[in-house]
Symmetry: C2
Amino acid sequence: MIKNYLMTPGPTPIPEDILLSMAKPIIHHRTKDFKNMFAETISLSKKVFQTTNDIVLFSSSGTGAMEASVSNILDAKDSAIFINAGKFGERWGQIIKAFDANPIEIKYEYGDYAKPDDIKKELDKNPNIKAVFMQASETSTGVYHPIDEIGKMIKENYPEVIFVVDGITAIGAIDVKTDDFGIDIMITGSQKALMLPPGLSLLSVSEKAKKTIKNNKNRRYYFDILGELNADAGHFTPAITIIEGLNLSLKRILNEGLENVFKRHALLALSVQEAAKAINLELFAKRPANSLTAIKSPNNINSGDIINLMKSYGVSVSNGQGSMKGKIIRIAHLGYFDKPDMLMTISALEMALKKLDANSNFSGGIKKAMEILS
Amino acid sequence: MIKNYLMTPGPTPIPEDILLSMAKPIIHHRTKDFKNMFAETISLSKKVFQTTNDIVLFSSSGTGAMEASVSNILDAKDSAIFINAGKFGERWGQIIKAFDANPIEIKYEYGDYAKPDDIKKELDKNPNIKAVFMQASETSTGVYHPIDEIGKMIKENYPEVIFVVDGITAIGAIDVKTDDFGIDIMITGSQKALMLPPGLSLLSVSEKAKKTIKNNKNRRYYFDILGELNADAGHFTPAITIIEGLNLSLKRILNEGLENVFKRHALLALSVQEAAKAINLELFAKRPANSLTAIKSPNNINSGDIINLMKSYGVSVSNGQGSMKGKIIRIAHLGYFDKPDMLMTISALEMALKKLDANSNFSGGIKKAMEILS
């Protein structure tokens, strides 16, 4: 008998009460009951986003909300900076190009993080830049970018520039303060720290961004932000069941307390990071996120071999993506995760490394983790 | 105690086994298990679409797949015909415009259906027309358009024209033969006859359409048909749970047998249509679909009053949309519906009409329905 432990950075495990609540008979979305629940859900999500801005929901993966932020903010030929420090940063460039705007890339080696000064230089060079697009945490590398400093720098020096942040593996896991950080558009998806199935994305939009959107004529229909804001509980048939799950998951997060949720994520992240170091492994991220930990595979071992061995104990972690494939493993701790999840994962990692003769300090990792978590 | 009976044309009731299957712990989409299930699901969906063409899935409402068919087929300034015979026909025009193409409207009074000759005239007038966009059944009026005749006319006379059909309330309910009818792109959504929650759309694409798409540079990213076809089980994180539900629902449909499914829908539709006539009500659709029945409200009674009274017995049916609001009621029989559903709905309708002194032939409708269904 092997149980399945999903330790991947999306999809992440879904609490049992939420799974069962989504198994209730479906209700119609043009009813008072649904509209009330929808309005409550939006209001709860603002608390988790730490914003007073409007929030819209799209029935799509997180990439849909990324596209919405591009096609609603940028007109054809508009210039925008995007930070490419991983697969999801790269995606910004693809979307900006697809909508005939002009992407200005600031590229970092994978594992590295964005520096405010690099962005400032580019903004000074080109006064026509309309927006900056970046990730909060780059899911492909485990990096957390200093979006607080970058937001402050933009707000103080370039008040016209729209700051767009993909917080898909940050919202609900890391203390990202949408309004305090000066983020005009903040994005997340359902299948990460919100502990839901994939299929729903959320996007907050500032008044400043709304003004820009009103004057923007780029081609869009399904991902029309103002159309969605003006609709009564969904312009098109919304993902009813996932929204019902979202209502519950937001209540779970707020009942635990935002601060406690962030502390829990920080503690779990620390246990994995320190355990890795204790068994002579290197972290891949120069500035690790609290939502997932990317670890370099040691001694030229293909990380796929480690992952397969861990899987033989039932523990699923993720490989690297693109050029990072085979070189790193990524362990999630965003969403519905607790201390035993980390203990079990670290132990499975150590057992895999032993089988591969990785010359790690066997049992040093789990010892360290137990110290941190007790 | 009042139970809830959802008799609306989307969302529709979800079978209990499918609801529970979607409440299982989530699995990762980049695994062999998921990929195998995904491939099987695509292959099953081809049978239900009656096509050998490729099928792609989008995590979106049906409107997302409608947008995909426009942004992938039409370049800016391309001309295309769309049939406007209701709210969803109108939507084609909005999407074509949003993607900077040139919509040529063929408009019918609501309740009326499209005539092949009208389309032929327009195609003869303008040899540059690249595509024809229409509904199979127009959900807002209950009309079933003669897509078989229209498809034949296009195939025989204008072999270059791409024929796009929104089958959102047809696939799995009405015998629409995608390939035989010459339909290049056929679209459906999850929350109709496929008996699933909203959040997933399906789109079949012919080789002819693929050639057009390859040469088309309109702006798109999330709804990129070829990108989705080339991806291994979803370009972006797919709506994993709904796809698992889809696998089950397609098996349910194919186990019942496509022909039996269509016969069941035809019989249920007939019972509602004939019951309505037996109590002196008029059908709104000049060519009624087997997926839903739209009935005119009698004697200047606001249809909302009928709907509210039916709701007091727990039976939810739909009002008209836009200019049809207050004038019609729409009763669904697409998907997870059987004879008792119809009996109960017709009875609730009769009880509501009696309370409103509608001078209907009280109990004549249910009598007729019982005759037809026994």
